[in-house]
Amino acid sequence: MSTISKPKQFQLPRIFPRPKSHKGLWYWLATVDHKKIGTMYGLVAFFWFLVGGIEALLIRLQLGQAESSILSPEVYNQMFTMHGTTMVFLVVMPLSAAFFNWIVPLQIGARDVAFPRLNALSLWVFIFGSILMNISWFVGGAPNGGWFGYPPNSSLGFNPGHGITYWVMGLNILGVASIAAGLNFIVTIINMRAPGMHMMRMPVFTWMTLITSVLIVLALPILAVAGIQLTADRIYGTNFFNSEAGGDPIFWQHIFWLFGHPEVYILILPAMGIVSEVLPTFSRKPLFGYTAIVFAGLVIGFLGWFVWSHHMFTVGLGPAANTAFTVTTMLIAIPTGVKIFNWISTLWGGSIKLNTSMLFSIGFIAMFTIGGLSGVTHAASPSDTQQQDTYYVVAHFHYVLFGGSIFAIFSGIYYWWPKFTGWLLDEKLGKISFILMFIGFNLQFGPMHWVGLNGMPRRIYTYAEDMGWEGSNLAATIGGFIIAVSVLVFLANVILSKRNKQNSGGDPWDARTLEWSISSPPPHYNFVEIPKVNNIDDWWYRKYPELLEGNNQNFKKQKIEVEDSSNVDESKIHLPDLSYYPLIIGIGLTIAGLGVMYTYALVAIGLIMVFWGSIGWSTEPVNEDSKEHH
């Protein structure tokens, strides 16, 4: 540090004081702590999970019997559109983001993400974007064009009103949140690793987060462009998808699925990461084929870019294109199979502990394999011609997204819950909720395979009695309600376990990775001392050093306690201070988004807020004590 006193940094006059206390509403609004942000991501996404679940139940109620009229066709369209959009963008992605936030800095031995305020910005933009999209229910009808929003059905001529515009604006705003989070995690994982944590020593969940973030950062801009083009068509009368002016609605399909297929891996790769953490922990054995799993993830991330037209086999791209995309799509089965066999081999010969988390992970492997195999059947373009837009496809992607992603997310919730809170979830209720979910899931989506092959189309609001689809649909509806009960059991589990708290300690599972080497819940600075990493699964080999010497028969556990943070001098802790500017930018962006649909005055107000937030952000010191600037 130079001795010459620097001129005082300019600061925006503060309208609100910078919060200092680590309690209360203000703290939660201005926090930059990755753990608090992860918690908020999780809570908000779980709320949307319940909303999307209710939408699903309404759909199932309507389809439970032939020619029922619980939902009108118009409302039915809104229901399935919002169910799909909610579950993809407001549930699975942010729930994964909640895990990224909570776990990744702990797994790589960092005190926080690389850009804590940017992280807060992602959170607030996500929250307000999700609210904006759902406002549409109350102002003249929700979007009703399907989660893929194909024009001309979603063009102004066929779909007047604000529903689709809300959908596009919502997606664009959510895209900003996702891209910001993706950038942040790429930098965090590359640059914030503890000493010795080489790339090939990182836990698989961190690896999958990195690959997912790369996919987010590359794929979401494409959706943003599609959104801008559709918005421009609807609001400014441009011609991107207007066939009267030579525009081609098929172009939307290309551009949407250019984004849409990488998106599928954005949804599933974090789940694969979670499972790769849970299985070795409860098999008490290293992950089989760590390198293979990592490279399979990289290969999936790359190949995922060149398969999008398998969503368009019936569009008429011609045999050459259909064949090419059949081949690339089938290629993806190889790295996916590599992963599945590696997980099974991880279980093989291990001393398996079948608790709730492990059950969900094993359920994941089974359900995801079924979904993957039905995926191979429509990777072949001739057979897909029969399956396109039938319930068979619905069955397929629910097996990979519910049986895959959601099962893995529940596995992760049960696995990391003690790390989040410091207490355990009840195993008995947990197992009940797993069994209910497993039965309900298969009852709901299993029959869809054969009604689909029987010809039942997607997105119809009802069907005739003599089609022979009633039994299967009734079963599916009952299955849906069993899943709902299982989610209620999970919520009851949380409430009851909180009431009679069972203290977990820092490392309840005798686990392998660094997040378990500190107390639970972790102090806000995470590690008292940044760990030095000697090994893959470093924490495990610190506990069982004899394993490293080749003694894998009668090895003993070393007496190593998790890090004690009780007598750390808090005055010496210099972490980034709270900041409310991310919140302001988030609100401003959403107001500007609303303004695009209604009036430019709102756009101006929103942009002024964004400007104010940005200037405030870049002139406030990151930490008031150290006067360090970002």
């Binding site: 000493p195 590359l218 399909q253 290309h254 293979a292 490279f295 870019w305 011609g318 000697n534």
Partner: protein, 156 residues
């Protein structure tokens, strides 16, 4: 006896690396125990960029670090290429070659700015990895897309 060892003798390091964890048998434990600093040049996606960098090195004869004169020279080259582009456009006899020529010129300009003004040529290869990965994915991806739309229209 190990099936792999029987069939492939001792020469199975790739398979071992990929599927046999890091030890001799799949249940065994990795052998690396040393605490070493993270290599300064470590980057996640392998070393294919070394080759791309070598091409740049040849192109630029590998001068040490850049100064203002050097920047002015690059700017002059950029300006001259732009002049050639516009000139090319005005000559009717050359127009049939316009599209490929413009593509080549713009790629050269692009590379010059990225390599020298953006310092990618002198900087940590992590940055090249990230940027070139994105460029490669993007270019491949959009080429496939444009090919599709060129041969089939956009579907009809």
């Amino acid at each position: 006896m190990d099936w792999w060892a029987l069939n492939y003798g001792g020469n199975m390091s790739l398979l071992k690396d990929l599927f046999f964890y890091q030890g001799n048998k799949w249940w065994k434990i990795p052998e690396t125990t040393e605490l070493s600093e993270n290599p300064k040049n470590e980057h996640p996606f392998g070393g294919f960029l070394e080759k791309a960098k070598n091409i740049l090195l040849i192109l630029s004869s590998g001068k040490g670090h850049a100064g203002p004169v050097y920047y002015w020279i690059i700017a002059a080259i950029l300006g001259i290429i732009t002049l050639i582009e516009v000139w090319w456009f005005t000559v009717p006899e050359l127009r049939y070659m316009l599209a490929p020529a413009m593509l080549i010129f713009s790629i050269i300009k692009f590379a010059l700015v990225v390599a020298f003004f953006m310092h990618l040529r002198f900087d940590h290869k992590m940055f090249s990895t990230i940027f070139i990965t994105c460029m490669v994915v993007g270019i491949l991806f959009f080429s496939v897309f444009l090919l599709l739309s060129a041969f089939h229209g956009l579907g009809t």
